[in-house]
Structure formats: C-alpha cells, structure tokens
Subunit: 698 residues, 2 copies
C-alpha cells in the first residue's frame, strides 16, 4: 500500500466526519454528545470523579471478550451453576477480601467507526485490513483496539486504532503516564504481545496489525522465494500505514515502539515477530530480538526455565515472549456444530491441552497466566521504582479468540487461567494500597441455553458435577461451506464481538469508582486518578514543561538528545543552517504518526545529519502532543575519526522549553484544529517529501 | 390430565432426585452445595446479610428477560450509543439521585430443573406443558416462574414452579410476608396478571399455566361446541395439577389465589381469564370478575377512564386488568429475518403501535406502565397501611415476550416503558425511606452486532440519531419452515432465554446489598431484610404462633374461621365426631397444594359439613407450612331456617395454637422430611380419596 493511497482514506474520513458533525451535532443534543465531542480526550466519560482515594499500585485484569455470558459459561462449567470463581468473583465482592473497598458496575463499549458496513474486525485479525475507512462513525460494537485505547488513554476512537484518536493523533497511555510519574510498569498477556490489548500500553498505531517493521511476517519464512530471508519477505504482510514505518520517517511499528515504551516487565506471546528486521537500526540487518538485547532488555524467547529464572536487574527490563503466536489454551478445542451434529456428538467435557504452558515441565517450571502474573509482580516489587508504586495490566486474551472460533472449552480454560492469575495476584499484594480491577474489553458471542438451537452452532457440555449446559454461537457473518458435515467444527474464526455492556469489578482504594454505569473510557480516569497520573489533556501537556534538548559532540559527530517530553509520544524537529536559513534536516510531519517516537521518560535521540564542522545551526524540537518547543542554536562539532573521542565531544549547547504552554496543534484533540492540520497533512503526504531515514533509538 | 397421572411425575422425581443426591452430594462439595441443599429455603444464597439498613418502602422493578444485552439494545436505539436512560440508569448510579445509597452488581439465575432435556419453557408458554418431570435437576437457564419464585420466596426451584419448592411445597412470598407485617402491597405488570412474574406474588402453583379454574381458557368461547359457554369449555386448557384445583380439594388456580392474597393494588393484563367460572364459589355459575366484586375488589375491565379514576377506598383493593391478554407494546413489530432478507429490507426504525395504551385517549387518559406505576403508588400512599410501609413490584413483561418473538422494536419499546415507569416512581417517593431495585428475571437472546450474521436472524435498526445497529437472534430450537421467504419474519415465539448473569441495581436504604455477585434468591433477603419481614424459615413459622380458630353458629349452621396463620399458605383440617372418633370431614392432603388456601393476613373460612345440632365435635386446623395446630372441641349449633339468626349464632368455641413451635412436616424444606412426606402423599394420591368440595373464601 502506498502512502498516497493510505491517506486517500484519511481524506475521505475528513469529509465523512465533517458531514457527520452536521447531523449529530444537532440530533445528539437531547441524549448526549456529538461524535466530535465523543472523540475528544475524555469526551465519552459518563462519570465525574468520585472520591479521592489514591492507590499506590493498580493491577488491571482484562478478560478479552469476557462478557457476562462468558463469565457465566466458565463459572457454570468449572465451578457448577451455584459455584464461584476464587479470584474473579472475589474482586468487587463486599466482605470477601477483608475490609477492602469493593465495587461492581457495568460499562459501555461502543466505538467510533471502523467496521460499520464491512467485517473489518475479522479482516483485521486476518491481517488484510489496511486503514480505517470508517473512523468517526458511531459503531455499537467495538474491537479490542478501540476498546483498549479507551481505557489506556481515555479517548473514544475507531476500531483498528491503537492509542490514536479518530483523527490519527496519538493519545498518551497509562504506561507512558505511569513512567512519567516514576512508577514501575508491567504488561502481561496470553496473546501475541503485539495484539491490540497489550499493544495499547506499548504503542500508537493507526492500524492494529502493524506488528513489526514487516507487518505480520513471521521473520523466518522466505515468503517471496528469492532464496534469502530478509525484510522484503514481509512486504505482503505489511499492515501498516506507510508513514508510520520508520523507513518512511514514522514512529515505527508496535513491536518497535514496545522497545521505546520500555515497560519494566513485558510478558506474552508473539515471539516470532521479533525475528523481523528493523532496516533503520544499526547496520540494517539486526532482528528486533537483537535490538532488544542491545538496548538492555533481559530477553526470553519461549524458554520456560529461563522465564522461571527471571529476576530484577537494574536498568534491564524484561521481555519474555513464551510462544511464537498466541499461547496455547489450557483446554483442547470443542468446535461448535449444527443442531443435528451436536446432538449426535452428545455432551462433551473439556480435556487438557498437551501444549498448555501451565503444565509443569521436567524442571518443575510452568508459564500459565498465573505464573506470569506472579513473576511480573515479583519483578515489579523488586524494582526500586515500585516504591512510587506500579501499574500492571494482565490480559486473558483467548477468551475472545476461542469465542471467535466457537470453541467453548477454549474460552472456558482461558477464563480459568485469568481467574487463577487474579488469585495469584491477591496473594502478593495488599489491598490497602493496591487497587485491582477486573473487566473485559467487549462482549462476545457465546450464550448459555438449555438445548441446541436450530440457527446457531452449539456444543453440549457436561461438567465434573454432571451438570449439563449448551453453549451457543450464532454471530458469524458467513457460514462455512462444509456446514453439511456433522463431524466437522465450523464457523471457526468467524464469530463476532457483541455490543452489550460489560461487568467491571474492583477491590482496593478507589474501587467504588466502578459502581453504576460507566463508559470504557472512564476506566482510564479511574486508574489515572487512583495513581495520581496526569489524566486530563492540560495536565498531560504540562508534563513536557521540563523538556530539554542537548546538542553534543560524540565521536566527532553532532548528536541531539531530548529529555522530559513526558507529555508527548511523538517529536518533530527541524534543523536550520543559520548562514542561509535553509532547512537542512527535518522530521516528516505528513501524518500524526510521522516523526520521532519518544522514548518514554527516557532520552530520545534526535537524528542530525552529518554537519559542517564549525558551522552554526538552530535545532527546533517540538512535542507533537504538548506543542512544547525547544530551540537550540549551536555550532557543529569538529570532525574526528570514527570511534575516537574528538575535540568537540561533550555538550555543545542545550535548550529548554521556549514557548508558553500553548496547546500544540496535534496535541489538542478538538476537531476543528485537528481537521485543519490533517487536511494539510494529507496534502503534504501527497506532494511533499522531506523524509529522511531516522535512527531514533534509546 | 388425571390427578393420578400428574403424580406419576412426582414419584419419578423422587427417584431422580434421590439418585441425584448421591452424585452431587459428593461432587459438589468442592465448589458448592448439593441440589438438596440448594433447593432448601435460602439454600442458594450467595451473600450473608450486609448492613442493617431498613427501608420503609420497597419498589422492585423487573424487566422480564432484560439482560445486559437487552438493556444495551434499548439504550443504544432510544438514547444513542453514548446516551443514558433517565430512570433505569439513574438507579444504582452514585451521585445521580442526591446522596441516596446506590449499588450495582450481578446475579446468577440458574434453576433446578424443568426444561433440561426438552423445550419445556416454550411448551409451557404454549400451554402444553403439564407438570414438571425434571424438578431437581441443575438447569443453567431459568424460566420466569422459577426465577420469580427465587426472589419472591428465597427458594431456588424448578422451571414452571410458582412459589413452590422442588418438592411442590408452597413457599411464602413477599406480598404474603408484607401483609403479615401490616404493609400495603401492590403488583403491576404489562403481562397477563396470571403470568409467572406477577403470579409469584399472588399464588402457589405447581404449574405456571394454571391461570384459572379452567386453565388458560378465555372464559367466553364455546370451545367444545356444545352450544353453551361453561366450565367444561376449559377442559382442554386446564394446565393445572388436578389436586390443586378447588373442585378437587386444592388451593385453586393462580387467579383464584390472587383474590385470596388480596394485594391492595393489582394492575395488569389477562382480563379474559377472569371470565372463567369457579364452580366451587357461590352457586357455581359466577365468573371470577363477579367473585372479585363480591369480595370487595374495585374492578376495572379494560376501561382506561375507569382506571384513571381509581382512588383508594377502605377495604376495597384494586383489581384493574387493562387487556384481555398481555398489553399491546409501544412499538410495532420488526420481525428478524435471515441475513439476505434483512439486508434486502435494509435499516428500519421503530414506529408507534396504535393499540399501545400509553397513547392518551379522547379524555386525556392513558395506561402506560408509567401511568400504572404512578397510579399504584398513589393508591398505596393513600392507604393507611402505608404508614407501615409498602411493597410494590412493577414488571415490564414484554421485553421477554418480544425477545422470544425476535422483535427488536417490540422489546425496545417495552424497555422504554419500564424506564419511564422508574422515572415516574422517582417523582413520587423519597429515597431516604424507599429502596428501589431494578433487575431482571433472566437473560435473553438478542445480541448487538455490527453486521447481520449468517446463522441467526437479525434486524438492522437505525435510530433518530442516524446510528445503525444490528440486533441478532439465534437461540430458537426450531426454524420456521417458511424460512426461505425473505419477506416474512420467522422464528417468532421460539427464541429462548439464556443463562448469563444479570444486572441488579438499587438506590435507597440497603442498596449496597446488591453489590458484587449475588444469586437471584438473595434478592428476597435484600427486600425482606430491608422491610423487616420474616425472612428465614423459623421466623416465618413463628408468624403462625398467634393462629386462632373460632367456631361459630351462623344462620343455624356451624362455621369455623381461622385467623393468624400468617406463616402459612395452606391449611389442612380434620373434623372428628367425639362420640365415636370418626372423621366426618377433612381437607385433602394428598399433595402440598391440597387443602385450604390461606386468605393472607385475613380470615380463612374452614368449611364444616352440616353437623348434628347439639353433638360434640373436635376440629383440628393445621398450618401446612408452619406445622402450628389449633384444636377446638365444640358443640354444634342448633339448626334454624336459612337466612334467619338462630339460637346458636355467635362464637361457640375457639382455640389457639396448642403445639409448641415444632416445625411442620411440609413447612420444613429439608429434603429428607419432605421426601418421606411426598412419598406418602404420592401413595395417598394414588389410592386414598378423602377429598371434599371446599368453599374456602374470604
């Protein structure tokens, strides 16, 4: 997909969005807000702040696709119809966890476009969806990326968006904000770590399938059959907005940004995507695994014993990816069948999957979600930053994935894993200072009925208590052509999310904030307020008030390092030659995901070209979210041989924020400003090319 | 159906239940309780009492079939995806109703048999199900009668049961207990007043379809074509356990018991069933309407102006039935179609039904659910008993019924009606002394998706805001044979309930008791504790401690009147001739619904035979729930001409409870005792016939 074509979509969105404002601005007045208002940061909140309780730590458990129906399916099967989950049902239950505050409520999950008249979610999972042609349309059913973006950033957005608003503007997420406040941070999932729910804590991407610099390529297959394995093998899998790729001057894929965000603990699947090559890094041949090691990560590639041996090391964040793709589920599949076929098959029970990582290996080690949660908490608690507190997200991802596949036992086992992860957490933390929230990102298909329906596919289950139940699946947009074969499971991969409101439960300080009816975006505020993070746009922009840029000589070259842009995810820069005023280098600003990705709460390298030693330049660095700008006039360092310390080494010049706190054009989420900017950006993308290869790294 | 055959089922249940105890008694130990334990009064509770807040009044709003999905469908359509209900969403919402306590949570709704391997619920609605062949089987999906019995009595029971446990034993309900405490009571619904949800506040019935003495006959049609309209026309519609019918010595149908329960306000549909004849009342030709009038009810038969004019009159409870069947819905139907047909039809919007009672008539009167709620509260507040408080249930019934019919606009309009009824209530009560609870009885089929699914039927809706959504229905056990016709709606009437946990929300004193995960039966305790009613079995049995029986001469005959059996729903009696010890009269005790229905918190007439004047007798009256017994030795009154006051008029003798508070055999819900008694009862039913026609009336 060319960059030009990608932004055709955006231009269409501009028109559609503008037209929509005309309609909904009036019509919605009686009942709510316009799409424009809803799309703003915090615009979809249902509640004002309730209470002022602070928590030192927050753990957010997400059951992906875990609607009330999925909770009940799993509880009924695992614990009997009158049973209870040990973890999941204790959170939010008054009196079940000492005198900890407890709250339960519901929240709404609608999104703002992306799959309103085609099956974009399913296509997105298949890696075929590129771009969001429907951003800005009220959509009753969210995908995992819009929903995750909601609680991670507080901004309601379109299906397929990862922490960008409907205009493509990056929105700061909880891990970025927690790092800005000096907290330890963690991100655990049973999915590929690049999947939407973990991705919303790592990255800003206009497309959820932009897994790596080569999209969803496995990093090892000679896809194009040219006899070698290199970046070109990923061309067909490149589900990224072109301008977001680093080779085009963008902030990079989800995997690359994960390394920039640099959570203290990252555990999940998706190992194979780290075999991809970032052509802009080093000599252009290194895999993301190598880059991670270079940049100081403790890495684990699918080794359960190495995982079990992980311990906190200073400045060595953990990146443990325990499966090439999503992690194997606890139970073997029980594909749903037609009424006749399921009755012919009769009741089935769930059996343990040999590949499940929760089974102990010969060394007594395992890597269930509970193990991973346990490990993550250990690592965070051993981290000195946890004196300030920590934020950890734990996702049970395959409740959703197996619900899509109409696989009752698959989703049940994954819910069991999540429940046990919650129990594991409860053993490690004190609810006097830790808020635990359990919720989901969207509801899903599975329904409990007494008998197999005629329309939908279903599975008859009988549990260890002898209790019989039928789990039904009927939302797939197309039926499998082999439907007539009663021995075969079908509708696999095709069942859809549903739009019903979800359960949210919490225990610990501030838990009462989840009571009543809230919106998914309220969850951002619940967590941000509890941890004292910068929640509103103004506070977030002020995080860049202390931004500083230092220009230094290093090995004879001139380098620039930006720090303190904590209110930003993306920086732009411009380097002028003072002699004639010409721009000798600048970042791409053609789209909101063009520019330099901020290394969160760390040092971001600004790539300067080879400069004329002794000549005078002016470097201007702008936070694209905060609008804060640092201008540094300097004289270029004298040239020396590579690898040798030269006379110009050391700080040459530095600057701090030189503009008052005027909101930056792209940092402001109000639509009028953003629309103008985006229109300009679209034109720019079509005609202007000031892109340069960047080597932004930590 | 003969009585003999009816109890064959029960004997089978005994065996099945006993077998089951063997299995589940062990297997359930890890996760919960045995079926036996669950079936006991209060056995399925999840929470202990939380807090001690008392409310003077409680209003319970039930959206029948209003799962979270149905709530979201209606909110999305009526108020936009980001909108809120004015009533429904304010209940339980912190800060939205001043400083009233607020709570929201989820509750489980499983039941104990009745439809586990056949489609008993659907059959039940069609009036074809007679008896419960599956009582005592763990069932993941409840019907409205088991669920209603759960919150009305605190006892988990089988689908099809109305306030009887799995052994058929009547369980006291909230209106009976509220009346025992001197509270005013009300019962409002858009369904037939005999339908399960209102019925659980009126009656005890082993079968929910036992609407009247002639079952579900309309009371006006010459069904058997014999040229006259009489009781025999109802023979084919008699969905009652034979022994429950008054002609067979039973406590009577739901409609008849409604008159015995005598709530202060009863408003609903089902008027035509009151055209039935109670052959045991008066001269055996009077309709239930006539009986209601005789017994002092203010009756309204479908007249909106009469309804609007209703006002409190002392000792004149209101019985207003505003439709022959269920009330017309607010919106016209939008039948769900196959994927191809619904796409061909395109988006539809909801239009108002001409027959909806919420539209004002020429006199400016209407009878929406909000109007009925408003009227009910006015009547209750004007009632001097409301100084002690009141209990009112309001049901929006056709959310369920239209969900069964795969009719999106139908269910949406009914949810709107319920929401507006809540808003109407909020204008009339003070949440300082009134607890309002909003919940449902079971979840249902409808799901919100972005596109029409291939498997299920669906309707594409577009609301006044231009927002598009698809509502999908896929749980029907059989597809309509006309499925190939895309112009026709089908699957009507066939969609099934689902087993997912439900939302419960509350505002007012004690609202926090609904937080967390509770069971449907906990709702009984929430309400009973708030109102200070007798909640546990022992307290309920003690309500009959003051029971008294007076034998009097009246018009030359000897009559007996029982009062103070407030802990009982059914009385048995035995009349012995002291001369030779022979039993000259006795109530039937062959089943738990045999005997004399207690006129709740009023005087219950015990039918004595024509006695020998001057002879000595002993009358023993036993509360079948409490086990409390009153024995009255007396001398029969001298005979006089009818209608003339004779020498024996006035009280001849009286007695009070002469047994200590030993639990009565049938009042004790423990299974061991009940099993023995039931086994004996089954034998009795098969062989012994001591039945006499009763004329128990107020």
């Amino acid at each position: 997909m060319s960059k030009h074509n990608a932004w055709k979509g955006t231009v269409a969105v501009l028109a559609a969005t503008a037209a929509m404002f005309g309609v909904t601005g009036t019509a919605n007045a009686a009942d709510g807000k316009s799409v424009d208002q809803l799309a703003a940061h915090g615009g979809a909140q249902r509640i004002a702040a309730i209470g002022s309780e602070r928590a030192k730590n927050v753990i957010l458990f997400i059951g992906d696709g875990m609607g009330d129906s999925e909770i009940t399916v799993a509880r009924d099967y695992l614990h009997g119809f009158d049973g209870s989950f040990d973890g999941l049902d204790r959170i939010g239950q008054p009196g079940k966890l000492g005198d900890a505050a407890a709250g339960t409520g519901q929240y709404t999950t609608y999104s703002l476009g992306g799959s309103s008249d085609d099956s974009a979610m399913a296509k997105g999972r298949d890696g075929k969806l590129t771009g969001s042609t429907k951003a800005g349309v009220m959509t009753p059913v969210t995908d995992s990326s819009a929903s995750g973006s909601g609680w991670a950033t507080g901004t309601k957005t379109y299906n397929n968006a990862v922490d960008v608003d409907v205009h493509g503007n990056p929105q700061l997420n909880l891990i970025e904000l927690a790092k800005a406040k000096g907290l330890a941070t963690g991100n655990v999932t049973t999915a590929e770590i690049q999947d939407a729910t973990p991705a919303v804590l790592e990255s800003h991407s206009t497309e959820r399938a932009c897994y790596g610099p080569q999209g969803k390529w496995d990093g090892a297959t000679d896809t194009n059959g040219d006899g070698k394995v290199d970046a070109s093998d990923g061309d067909a899998a490149k589900n990224c907005l072109a301008s977001q790729l680093k080779v085009n001057g963008g902030i990079g894929s989800i995997s690359e940004q994960l390394l920039d965000t640099r959570a203290d603990v990252t555990i999940g699947g998706g190992a194979k995507y780290f075999n991809q090559i970032d052509p802009t890094y080093g000599d252009g041949t290194k895999t993301l695994w190598q880059q991670a090691a270079d940049r100081g990560f403790q890495t684990v590639d699918k080794d359960v014993d190495q995982f079990a041996g992980l311990a906190y090391q200073q400045d060595k964040p953990v990146l443990a990816l325990m499966a090439d793709g999503n992690m194997p589920t606890q139970f073997n599949p029980t594909p749903a069948l037609t009424q006749e076929a399921t009755e012919q098959r009769g009741p089935v029970s769930c059996t343990t999957n040999d590949k499940w990582l929760g089974t102990k290996n010969a060394n007594g080690n395992s890597a269930s979600l509970a193990d991973m949660t346990d490990k993550a908490i250990d690592l965070l608690q051993a981290n000195p930053k946890s004196r300030n507190g920590f934020f950890l997200q734990v996702e049970g991802a395959s409740i959703d994935k197996q619900d899509h596949a109409a696989n009752a036992c698959g989703q049940i086992g994954e819910t069991d894993d999540l429940d046990k992860a919650i129990s594991a957490a409860l053993k490690k933390v004190d609810l006097k200072d830790t808020l635990i929230i359990v919720t989901a990102d969207h509801a899903h298909t599975s329904q409990i009925v007494n008998e197999p329906p005629a329309y939908a596919l279903s599975t008859i289950l009988v549990n260890k208590l002898g209790e019989r139940m039928v789990v039904s699946y009927g939302t797939a947009p197309s039926a499998d052509p082999d439907a007539a074969d009663p021995t075969k499971g079908y509708g696999q991969g095709g069942m859809e999310h549903t739009g019903t409101q979800l359960r949210i439960a919490a225990s610990g300080p501030g838990a009462q904030r989840v009571n009543g009816l809230t919106d998914q975006t309220d969850n951002f505020y619940t967590i941000a307020y509890a941890l004292g993070l910068a929640a509103d746009t103004d506070s977030q922009q002020r995080l860049s008030d202390g931004a500083k840029v230092e220009v230094a000589g290093k090995d004879g070259a001139t380098v620039a390092n930006a720090t303190g842009f904590d209110g930003d995810a993306v920086l732009s820069y411009e380097l002028k030659d003072d002699a004639d005023g010409t721009v000798v280098a600048s970042s791409d600003t053609s789209t909101p995901v063009s520019g330099v990705r901020v290394a969160t709460a760390a040092t971001t390298a600004i790539p300067l070209q080879q400069l004329t030693p002794g000549a005078n330049y002016t470097l201007t660095v702008t936070g694209r979210q905060s609008g804060k700008q640092v201008t540094v006039p300097f004289t270029a360092a004298a040239q020396t041989s590579a690898g040798q310390s030269g006379q110009g080494d050391g700080v040459i010049a530095s600057g701090t924020v030189n503009k008052p706190a005027a909101p930056g054009a792209l940092g402001k989420t109000g639509a009028t400003v953003a629309l103008v900017v985006l229109a300009a950006a679209a034109l720019a993308a079509a005609g202007i090319a000031l892109r340069r290869q960047l080597a932004a790294r930590r």
